[in-house]
């Protein structure tokens, strides 16, 4: 089963370099505040700028909640991220959905930013596999989520 990727494009009045920097290094400053999976509001959203770098949110107490990691790092044209958040709103190190960002110079002072969030069927496969493994054991399965919520 394949699920259609989420694709979005937006043209921004900036160079690819600026757009890439803003997307990767300054996410804390524009990421919607209520789009978080942690128990508390984030103070920072951090993307470590290299392949294998972690992508996480950090709250005011310094608690880090992982979101994913960097799979490919090709500034200023492209960055490929693993979004490792399942349908249960919890980070899952075994789940990898892919967010590919490209930044294309349009030659008129703008950059076309394209987002493609794909491999979403892995969310379902993963959830189903865990559900099968644990029978109706969602409470146990989602202990990780509860831990986040109680943190």
């Amino acid at each position: 089963m394949t699920i259609a990727p989420v694709i979005r494009t937006v043209a921004v009045k900036a160079s690819p370099e600026r757009a890439f920097e803003a997307f990767t290094a300054q996410m804390s400053q524009w990421w919607p505040k209520d789009h978080t999976i942690a128990a508390k509001p984030f103070e920072a959203v951090v993307m470590e700028p290299h392949v294998g770098g972690r992508w996480f949110e950090r709250d005011a107490d310094g608690t880090e909640t992982q979101w994913g990691k960097v799979l490919a790092w090709d500034p200023p044209g492209r960055v490929l991220l693993a979004w490792q958040i399942g349908a249960n709103w919890a980070y899952d190190p075994d789940l990898i959905t892919e967010v590919e960002m490209t930044f294309a110079d349009q030659g008129d002072g703008t950059t076309l930013v394209t987002l493609e969030h794909g491999k979403l069927e892995r969310v379902g496969a993963n959830a189903q596999a865990l559900a099968d493994q644990l029978g109706n054991g969602w409470p146990g399965l989602l202990q990780m989520f509860a831990d986040y919520a109680a943190a």
Partner: protein
């Protein structure tokens, strides 16, 4: 579809993620009425996010692991908002935080 766009529904969804529950048990721990909880559960169910199973006279709600379609819809909206915010930020000439 904005099944998870509503804060109360999101809260209900998160509680069901922690443990399956009945309408009554959910309502007892939320500042909303039982009929309101039922209505929210109906929306979540239609979105494929939760399923219900009978347990004697009551019905128990739990997260539906096949709620992938709803997850995708949430992401769809999420990226819309996030990229709009991103565009605003990038195009702001002076960055007061730097």
């Amino acid at each position: 579809m904005a099944a998870l766009g509503d804060p109360t529904r999101r809260e209900i969804f998160e509680r069901l993620a922690a443990a399956p529950s009945s309408v009554g048990a959910l309502a007892a721990n939320l500042p909303v009425s039982r009929p309101a909880v039922s209505q929210h559960l109906r929306v979540l169910k239609e979105a494929g996010l939760v399923s219900e199973t009978p347990d004697g006279a009551r019905r128990v709600y739990r997260i539906d692991p096949r709620g992938i379609g709803a997850m995708r819809d949430w992401l769809d909206q999420h990226w819309d908002r996030a990229l709009a915010a991103f565009k605003d930020f990038v195009e702001t000439p002076e960055d007061p935080a730097e």
